[in-house]
Amino acid sequence: MPVAVVTGSSRGLGLAVVRRLLADGWTVHGLARGEQPAAPGFTPHVVDVTDPAAVQAAASAITAAGRVDLLVNNAGAASMNALLLTPVAVAERLMRVNYLGSFHCLQAFGKAMVRQRAGRIVNVTTVAVPLSLEGEAAYVASKAAVDALTRVAARELASSGVIVSAVGFGPVDTALTRGVPRAQLDRINARIGLSASPSPEAAADFLLAHARSAASGHVEYLGQVA
């Protein structure tokens, strides 16, 4: 039975990915800051991905029990601010959660995958990077770092049989985007050729289809990104 680790698994896209994987017969470990109920095939871990020691402890516990076939680096934070008015603390938090969170998990679980000489890592990014969306400079910069990390990790780990790729979304219909004005969401979706924000389940399906076949280093977006 294949084993997956999903970060940010308590809600939104992460929770939808967990449910899809469980339905497909995977064993799933969820990493999230809050408590999550255990379920058949699902083991929750209370982990803040910005804490490297906590990530390493979870990785050690999980990999001591066996292999890890898939890591989905989904945990993330978003904030919309005019660039010149963005508090430094917000920019730092976005970098810590989005970039360093992915970095810590990639390091911890990547080592286990190198030992296995196999594994797949999917990082979650955003269409805001290629679109250079105004009003999201700090968020875009943190996700651009994830894209760059993905491409370099793909090259470094290729000879070990570890595939690293990324999948990017526009606004997914989750609690995170429900506070964003509808007109703003419509504008972003129109730019990527979507009539509405996808549901978490639709986004999860896209992510897992990507995970089944994406080449290492590939960054794939849901929607039309020129």
Binding site: Q56, A64, K111, V114, R115, E156, S159, S160
Partner: protein, 100 residues
């Protein structure tokens, strides 16, 4: 774990890596074998693989989790990854420190 035991672990893992990578010189590595750096046996991903494998070997052998590439190791003037005996000494030191 003594330094001699750690060296045996390092050499055994190097030999296995040599078989996997088709690098016969790793199968006959000894304490003085240069691992990383100029004229060394491993490239960067080879070193990463060796480190990842050794950390697991240690966990299985003595039940402790070590991080071979910790900040202390990376900032030393004499890299513990330069030679097999230096790596063994570093490994033995980490295991001693990790054991209650």
């Amino acid at each position: 774990m003594t330094q001699e035991e750690a060296l045996r672990l390092v050499l055994r893992r190097l030999a296995a890596l040599g078989r996997e990578l088709g690098r016969p010189e790793l199968e006959t590595a000894d304490a003085t074998t240069r691992l990383f750096g100029e004229n060394a046996s491993l490239d960067s991903i080879g070193l990463v693989t060796l480190i990842a494998d050794l950390e697991e070997d240690v966990r299985v052998a003595v039940g402790v989790t070590v991080n071979l590439a910790d900040e202390k190791a990376m900032s030393r003037l004499t890299s513990p990854f330069r030679r097999a005996d230096l790596l063994a000494a570093h490994l033995a030191e980490l295991v001693r420190a990790a054991r209650p």
